[in-house]
């Protein structure tokens, strides 16, 4: 026991060590320096600058007018689960039912709930970097260990060495986490690689958690390859998706889990004990997004493609810059020769020009020397930002 009265030491000293050890977000550290300041062009977050389309907002407002302000089923409302099953079947040629689908408050929430089902203290998770650190933070919160193997940057795009991924799996490994299309790298996993990962997972009795929130932000086909296309019903595959990126709904916090039907009641219980259910009026907006949102996706993705091409062309003229070609998602994740402190460069560029970007080291050690720029912004603003940025990269 302590000599001092208990409350003379700060409470943080009694927080669990794995929680105290969680990384601070370097993205937030940069953005906190400039967010909301006049003249700042914010390209640091994974967010388009497009407001949610009016027809989606109207659906939420109408639901409120109709008194949709009560508790909803844990697994989500039936119309949304039905819409999503049909939507995925259209995209993937699958035969999913509403029983495969559970609604969550965001993709982030979906990852946390999937992890609670499958990893705990003493377990081990394998993934790859560069990656959005929040994905594996969920496993660390639950007391699991995480091994990230490095992907390698090439001008034609980042590459993943499957043998290295498999070699990282040991006796305590419970799951492999794959984010494709990937934030920040724009890497996308092809079906053959998905099949190889699934075969390995089957053989070793591992779960696959597939974060596919950028499924529709893809430029050479209508939708990215999904683990749903290669998996069978009771394969240990949990697919994460979200309304944030495709329907410009980041602020709504709406996502979904697609999982084997036998764990439906498990996911439902975890939803109950984490959040109970997403708001009904937000789920109604989700139904409208799915049913009426295809034109919006086509238009916005066409815009992101133009932005991608602009960024690739402009950065390609700078000899110090190497940008692995972003095949999907809406980020340029590029290295700058001779630069080893991304945070310092991001801060300098922010302070001197107002252009806000994220330092590569926020996405793992392999990201050192890189910078992430989200190009999901109006072309004129993007053009202006590139003009301001280029002098620092020559």
């Amino acid at each position: 026991m302590n000599d001092k009265p208990f409350h003379d030491t700060p409470a943080i000293e009694d927080v669990r060590q794995p929680i105290r050890d969680l990384p601070v977000s370097l993205i937030r550290e940069v953005s906190d320096l400039g967010i909301g300041k006049p003249g700042v062009i914010p390209l640091w977050f994974g967010e388009s600058d497009i407001t949610t389309p009016e027809f989606i907002c109207d659906a939420a407002k109408n639901a409120l007018d109709e008194g949709d302000t009560f508790y909803q089923p844990n697994a989500g409302i039936d119309p949304l689960r039905e819409s999503l099953a049909a939507y995925m079947n259209r995209l993937y040629g699958t035969a999913l039912t509403p029983a495969h689908v559970t609604i969550t408050v965001s993709g982030m929430n979906a990852v946390m709930i999937a992890m609670q089902a499958i990893v705990g203290a003493g377990d081990h998770l394998v993934s790859a970097e560069p990656s959005w650190p929040n994905l594996t933070a969920t496993a660390r919160i639950l007391g699991a260990e995480v091994t990230n193997i490095d992907q390698t940057p090439h001008p034609e795009g980042w590459q993943l060495d499957l043998d290295r991924l498999f070699d990282a799996c040991g006796p305590k490994t419970r799951a492999i986490l794959i984010n494709s299309p990937a934030n920040p790298s724009g890497w996308m996993m092809e079906p053959e690689a998905q099949r190889a990962v699934l075969d390995f997972a089957r053989e070793r009795g591992l779960w696959i958690v597939a974060d596919e929130v950028y499924a529709r932000v893809v430029y050479d086909r209508p939708v990215a390859p999904s683990f749903l296309e290669v998996a069978e019903d009771e394969d240990r595959v949990i697919v994460i998706n979200s309304f944030s990126k495709s329907w410009a709904m980041t602020g709504w916090r709406l996502g979904w889990i697609t999982a084997p039907p036998s764990i439906g009641t498990i996911i439902e219980k975890l939803i109950e004990f984490n959040i109970a259910c997403p708001p009904g009026f937000i789920q109604q907006a989700g139904v409208t997004a799915i049913e009426d949102g295809e034109d919006f996706i086509k238009e916005t993705v066409a815009g992101y493609r133009d932005s991608r091409d602009l960024v690739v062309a402009r950065l390609g003229q700078l000899s110090r810059v190497m940008l692995p070609y972003p095949r999907a998602a809406f980020y340029a994740f590029f290295s700058v020769d001779g630069m080893d402190d991304g945070f310092a460069l991001c801060r300098q560029v922010l302070e001197e020009t107002g252009v806000g970007m994220a330092p590569g080291e926020a996405f793992g050690d392999v990201g050192k020397g890189f910078i992430r720029l989200c190009f999901a912004t109006r072309p004129r603003l993007l053009d202006e930002a590139l003009g301001k940025l280029e002098p620092y990269l020559r």
Copy 2:
């Protein structure tokens, strides 16, 4: 390894054991039998039948019209954190600041996040029953053990024996969870007992998690006693609150955590890795609820008081029934002499009369022989429900 291909066994067999062991909700099991059927009077959930007031809905709709559809800060928007700090200071005479307050998607989510900060595998939590099982389920999900001591029913109200609570704390105990006012019992902890728990927790280096979501649903004073009134800044006290019960906002999923400032960054990180942030337009509705919602609370609580008095009077005439006086919250949690299967009785009453209630065993072994009835419903409907129910209790 298995002889059979991996996917020939159901995926649930590879879910973590503590998650498979989570209890099924007996409340949901009953309600699933009748929810949405014509003529059913649903008194099973902890939910008033009042729609969220229009002025609160309007605030959300206006925020949507203004384009509030983007990511928000992890800890919540400043105006809501400021409003809540001022609101609690008005109620409790405290000196809380926005730094004490973090916004969550529901009280449920707030409990999960508090638990992640303080308990993990091998840790131990102490609480009391009867209780809403979801509160301690959070600790079980994280791999912790839970001991619930029994409260005792008396006609004047449920009682808690503090010595039994303290005796249940051992070397692995990390936290005590107190829900006051309590669901389902209507029990309320007085300030002297709160001080005794705080003294014990200080001495033993324990956290207190205080679920105070029914703080305003109280009939003999404006607000229930809060641990915030007895704790000092760095005491290991985390208070959970929610917009659900006081402002008829169950479906909105909006709550808040009040915690020592030194763990503000910890809570903020956990929010980021669980849900990122509650929707901005819902937080705007929260600001309006706090600023303009006092008249609504006064009116609705006056109505709940009338309902409470009606239920107490009517059940008091039945010789088989013993209803410990519900001093707060909006439940009658009563025993029925000679009845030992609450689930069977609830099902029978539901099937034969359409009145939906929750079986007492859903709230712990001590609840066996009890029934929970939520009286937060229109007097005419409540009167009708009681008329239908009474023949089963004579």
